[in-house]
């Protein structure tokens, strides 16, 4: 097969359980591989890393040579899809109640809450011998955490799950199909969810709780305040990012450990290896497989010219398996040294919530691992979600045997 169909083959749902052979083909075909629709694919570690750090690379969809006519230049976008200096301004404001330098202890302080949520979920599992890791654990855990952090009522989950599904579907990498309807539904969901979150925030005005929405609307310094539109986009971004990605990290963790029982035994004997194991998961089975970028100028890379305005797809999960960067990249090794993976991206858009995701995955897997010794996968590979960019199992049914 020709390499100009790689993106189509990667996004083909049949590839979801194991896209890694296609990634190997991509790396083999060269650092830069043009697709039939003009898009460029980049799948090698050093080239991806260089592009992630290149200030001439845009994340703004309006930088395309042929921008979406429905996207106007004055429309507010989340900082994930904005370039500096606007990206920096909004990300800094969003960071104020979340991390250093203004809230350095915030994530550490959530350790107790996350443990509490985890214990509640474990209790609900009780003595059941058959569970779905996704529905029973890996999805409800980060949802509960992000709801508490942002200040969103947990019982509204069915509403925002529907919006979130539509938004995430519309943000998948292009597959050449007609995406008009998908994009329209995504825009509608984004608007609805934004309104819902701004309404919630409005209720906290002058009546703040210990949540981020409260912090945003009660910011005393007018120069540090988000506008309504900025607040809507930022809150939507945080709510979606907070629960669409960590679910995959936890689920992939359980799946990978059950496929590597020797490593599972190691981790059970030495929980001190967990932080390293989570880093290795972020490399070996990352929740985010691809990101799209657009050059703001013709960019020379490894003997190719990436033309201004033509979209690039950076296949982060392929860079994570690049043998030019990682020794035996297809081996899952929780004690791997020098593991600077691309699981959280890199450069100025390096994952905002990474420190929280790490903590959630460490606590969740730490709680599950003792019980996984006698567990078996009911379905391997499990059924996957449709999205190729945010890749993860839809369900992960496992059987827990009563200890003899």
């Amino acid at each position: 097969m020709t390499t100009d169909t790689l993106l189509r083959r990667i996004t083909d749902y049949a590839s979801r359980p194991d896209p890694y052979p296609l990634y190997a083909e991509l790396r083999e075909a060269g650092p830069v591989v043009q697709q039939a629709d003009g898009t460029y694919l980049v799948g090698t570690y050093h080239e991806i890393n260089a592009l992630l750090h290149d200030p001439r690379i845009s994340v703004d969809p309006r930088s395309r040579r042929a921008p979406d006519p429905d996207l106007s230049t004055d429309q507010q976008l989340p900082f994930l899809r904005l370039d500096d200096p606007e990206h920096h301004r909004l990300r800094t404001l969003a960071m104020r109640p979340f991390g250093p330098p203004h809230s350095p202890g915030r994530i550490d302080a959530m350790c107790g809450q996350i443990t509490e949520v985890t214990e509640d979920l474990m209790e609900t599992l009780g003595d059941r011998t058959r569970i779905d890791i996704v529905d029973d654990f890996a999805y409800p855990l980060p949802v509960a955490v992000i709801c508490r952090l942002l200040g969103v009522p947990r019982e509204d989950e069915p509403r925002f799950r529907e919006w979130s599904d539509a938004i995430v579907a519309s943000a998948d990498v292009g597959t050449g199909d007609d995406t008009t309807e998908r994009d329209r539904a995504g825009r509608q969901a984004r608007a609805d969810m934004g309104r819902y979150l701004v309404d919630l925030a409005d209720q906290r005005r002058g009546n703040p709780g210990d949540d981020m929405l409260s912090a945003f609307v009660n910011e005393p310094d007018p120069a540090m305040r988000l506008t309504r539109e900025e607040l809507a986009e930022t809150a939507v971004l945080l709510l979606i990012a907070g629960h669409e990605t960590t679910v995959n990290l936890i689920t992939n963790g359980v799946l990978t450990l059950l496929r590597h029982p020797d490593q599972l035994d190691r981790l059970r004997d030495d929980p001190g290896l967990l932080p390293g194991a989570v880093e290795e998961l972020l490399r070996y089975e990352p929740p985010v497989h691809m990101r799209e970028r657009i050059p703001l100028a013709d960019i020379d890379l490894a003997g190719f010219t990436l033309p201004e305005g033509t979209p690039l797809v950076l296949v982060l999960a392929s860079g994570n398996r690049d043998p030019k960067r990682f020794h035996e990249p297809d081996r899952f090794d929780p004690t791997r040294p020098d593991n600077q993976h691309l699981g959280f991206g890199g450069g100025i858009h390096l994952c905002y919530g990474g420190p929280l995701a790490r903590l959630e995955a460490q606590i969740a897997l730490g709680a599950l691992i003792p019980g996984l010794g006698t567990a078996t996968l009911i379905q391997d590979p499990p059924p996957y979600r449709h999205n190729a960019m945010l890749r993860g199992p839809r369900h992960l049914p496992i059987e827990l045997q009563e200890p003899a």
């Binding site: 890393n49 200030p55 845009s58 703001l296 201004e308 990682f326 450069g347």
Partner: protein, 456 residues
């Protein structure tokens, strides 16, 4: 042969960052012989960057900056012992207490010390301090905590500027004197030094540039009371910090026949010391602030760096080369990098900013206090300095390593019109970096990356 190198006796003189990292790496590389680390301070290896920042702000105690060990180097520690000489033929290090340590291979990592005030009598006044060791930092922190009326900082380099920043953060009046036209000018050149001067003044520093201190004054009880400046003025203060840079600790080597001088000890790209005739030794290695080493990206001029990152990288290379035979040895090619935090700014640098003839403001702006300045020399990128924009550094590092053309290609999203206008870099002549003889090695070209580090 390799097995021989993994046994025997290794002595490391210098028990700070470079000495410790080298000791750890030796063990990591499989060295099983005896390892002795000599340090003239009594404390185990500690970290210095916090001494001019968190310690002065009272956020950390001076004695809480001990360096974490990556592994137990299983070394015999001779702390509080001063090396006084080296017998290169008899292969022994002499100590002040009369003892001498035989070695098969030696690593010199004696670093630097603070340059003292030249007038010993004035330097002895109560209230006149320098800042290099944890002891110094503890004393200075104590003085600052006592709430002096005014602190005088002599020297507007990085250490002096960080001390002034800490004083202002503590609400103390501070005067900085700098012989040059602005603080940090020697390291960063004219444009950024103007930003530094503006920040200092905006934060309430009494900044006096283009002047020198001619005398330190004391009262009848030997207490420091103020200083006379070359412009005829007088600054009344009760604490004075002399921040005039560093002196390399090489005096103990004066009879050792090594290429050692005020700029440090010259070594080759593999950290092996040269002797006074320019002949490379094979049993004496050098790492850290006390070394001068050739770098292919800077025309093989011998660089002397006082950077944390260089101490670590060079110590690792030196240790590797001490226990591996010739063909398996590695060159020390790490790009110089450093950082500073002062007046709310995070300043980071990669490359050698003084090795430049032009600069360009490639991203951001002075007004936003967030920018990337790129330095070029004869049409190629040689350095970059970011202010509150550290995540951009990696991109510029790549440009430097690949000898990319200067000015850098346009297209950055946060590029302003200023990026169209390269300015003179306004730093001391780059030849000022070249101290003593140039040592040319093999035929590397600056645009060729001849080594590739692969994991495993």
């Amino acid at each position: 042969m390799a097995d021989d190198l993994r046994a025997g006796r290794i002595v490391i003189v210098g028990a700070s960052l470079a000495g410790l990292r080298a000791a750890e790496t030796l063990r990591e590389e499989g060295f099983t012989g005896s390892l002795t680390v000599v340090g003239d301070e009594l404390r185990p290896p500690y970290d210095r960057p916090p001494l001019s920042k968190q310690v002065l702000l009272g956020q950390a105690a001076a004695d809480a900056t001990e360096l974490p060990m990556r592994r137990d180097p299983d070394a015999h520690w001779r702390l509080g012992a001063t090396a006084t000489g080296l017998d290169p033929l008899g292969k022994r290090v002499m100590l002040a207490d009369g003892d001498s340590l035989p070695f098969d291979r030696l690593l010199i990592a004696t670093g630097t010390r603070a340059r003292p005030w030249p007038n010993a009598e004035e330097a002895a006044l109560d209230g006149v301090l320098t800042l290099r060791t944890w002891d110094d930092a503890g004393r200075l922190a104590e003085r600052l905590a006592a709430g002096p009326q005014r602190v005088l900082v002599i020297g507007g380099g990085f250490t002096g500027s960080e001390i002034a920043s800490a004083c202002r953060e503590r609400g103390l009046e501070v005067t900085v004197t700098e012989r040059g036209p602005a603080p940090l000018v020697g390291a960063l050149g004219g444009t950024l030094s103007k930003l530094a001067a503006g920040m200092q003044r905006a934060h309430g520093v009494d900044l006096r540039c283009g002047v020198t201190v001619t005398a330190l004054r004391g009262d009848g009880n030997g207490r420091f009371t103020g200083a006379d400046l070359s412009d005829g003025s007088h600054v009344a203060a009760d604490v004075c910090v002399v921040a005039l840079g560093a002196v390399r600790n090489v005096e103990w080597l004066k009879d050792a026949g090594l290429a050692a001088g005020p700029r440090g000890i010259a070594c080759d790209g593999g950290c092996r010391a040269f002797d006074m005739y320019g002949i490379v030794t094979d049993d004496v290695f050098v790492a850290g602030d006390v070394s001068r080493f050739p770098h292919p990206l800077f025309e093989y001029q011998l660089l002397s760096l006082e950077h944390w990152g260089n101490a670590v990288a060079q110590a690792e290379v030196a240790a590797h080369n001490m226990v591996n035979p010739g063909p398996l040895r590695r060159p020390h090619l790490a790009l110089p990098t450093f950082w500073s935090s002062q007046f709310g700014l995070n300043i980071k640098s990669v490359g050698v900013p003084t090795f430049s003839d032009q600069i360009v403001l490639a991203q951001g702006s002075l007004e936003a206090r967030r920018l990337a300045v790129v330095y070029g020399y004869r049409g190629r990128v040689t350095a970059a300095v970011t202010v509150n924009m550290a995540k951009s550094l990696e991109y510029y590092q790549h440009l430097i390593e690949t000898a990319a053309p200067f000015p850098p290609a346009p297209g950055a999203a946060d590029r302003t019109l200023a990026a169209e206008l390269p300015l003179p870099s306004d730093v001391p002549d780059p030849k000022g970096l070249s101290h003593g003889p140039l040592v040319a090695l093999t035929g590397h070209l600056p645009d060729r990356r001849l080594t590739m580090v692969r994991p495993g």
